[in-house]
Amino acid sequence: MTPSEIQLRVNGRPSRIDSVPTDERLLDTLRWRLGLKGTKEGCRTGMCGACTVLRDGRGTLSCLLLTHEADGASITTIEGIGSDPVGRRVLDAFDAAGALQCGYCTPGFVMALTGLLREGGRSTPVDEMLEDLGGNLCRCTGYATIVRAARSAREEGA
């Protein structure tokens, strides 16, 4: 039987969620049940990266994850990433570099880059880190300012 209650830790706070349909995506749970609209809905097919959140510290496409499958996980969204030291560094780097325009891809980029820096940090060569950001699409910036921000966030982690 489908369990009726899901437990998630969202941005450090435990939350119990009742009556989530089995086909609901984590993206929709975050946005429409928990009101965390900072996580963006883009293509819903895992191709744009706008919905990226951290699940147990790893970049995850919340549009391709059933909420029930995340039961017990620790989820971090853009609303909570500032409490993570690496996340704070990434936010500051984006802010200083002006690495955003419309801003719609920005939360996904921040989460993806935070995940990568936590995973590999400076042991990952710069080019590989940039290639690893290829799953996050941006239509405004041409990525130039995002690359500047990513390089600077990586350096500051030294």
């Binding site: 039987m1 489908t2 349909p21 089995t22 086909d23 609901e24 995506r25 819903r44 097919t45 895992g46 191709m47 990266g49 990226t52 699940r55 790893r58 970049g59 995850t60 496409l61 549009c63 391709l64 994850l65 059933l66 029930h68 499958e69 039961d71 993806a112 995940g115 990568l116 995973e119 290639e131 690893d132 290829g134 799953g135 996050n136």
Partner: protein, 280 residues
Amino acid sequence: MPAFDLVAPGTSDEAIAELRASDPGEVAVVAGGTDLLFDLDDGRITPRKVVSLRRLPWRTLDWNGPTLTVGSTLPLRELENDPELRRRIPGLYAAVRAVGSVALRHQATLGGNLGRSAPASDLVPMLLALDAEVDLVGPKGERRLSVDRFVIGSRRTALAAGELIRSVRIPEARPSAYLLQRVRPFHDISHMAVAVAFSPTDARWRVAVAGFPPRPLRFPEAEEALGGSTPGAADIARAAEALATRAPIVADKRASEEYRRQLVRPLLARAIAATRIGDR
């Protein structure tokens, strides 16, 4: 509009029992979920029950001498991050990195990729060149099948009702390479790919091609043409010619047949050149 029941059994026996309790057309399996959710959105499948593998102890990776065994629910990114993989099976490392994005690979699994069995799978051709096998568990116990026998066509495999992929066994680490062609170099679907591996045991090459329907395939004629460990330019040309003219390559919406036949020549030559034999 009842959604499906979602169950997450803790043992493989329970999982198999859950599968058996439903009509095969009404039950689906979720591992990473990255393909399943596409199919649900499309309405391609409308299961009444979905069996989640998330609680099964199959997120494993084991090296045993030359043999690598990967649990079917291990996220691909964890396979990619294994420090041994890049050095010992470079072709598989390249193939894993060719799948989706980092975030997708944190979710997607090797078992899921095999279960989906896409014609453009980046993993299946490499697994073919590595003579990989799948270990299945089901109502009748366990069985082992070569990937070649397991994969039939798009969304079609030899998996019987009630069976699950438990792990994938790569019998020996091999010098190998994986090269692909896409319209967009990153984060795209490969419309032509060549996987090669050289077996130190029998000193023979394996060659697999992918990216077109119905499924990735080995091409023994090219393997024979390559001969032993250090194929000369003429051998490579003969192997490429065999692939380009006689492999069952077809067109689809992503590339024409003639373009694919042209591509297979440089991809094969480059893959052979990129394979470093004798490092070990």
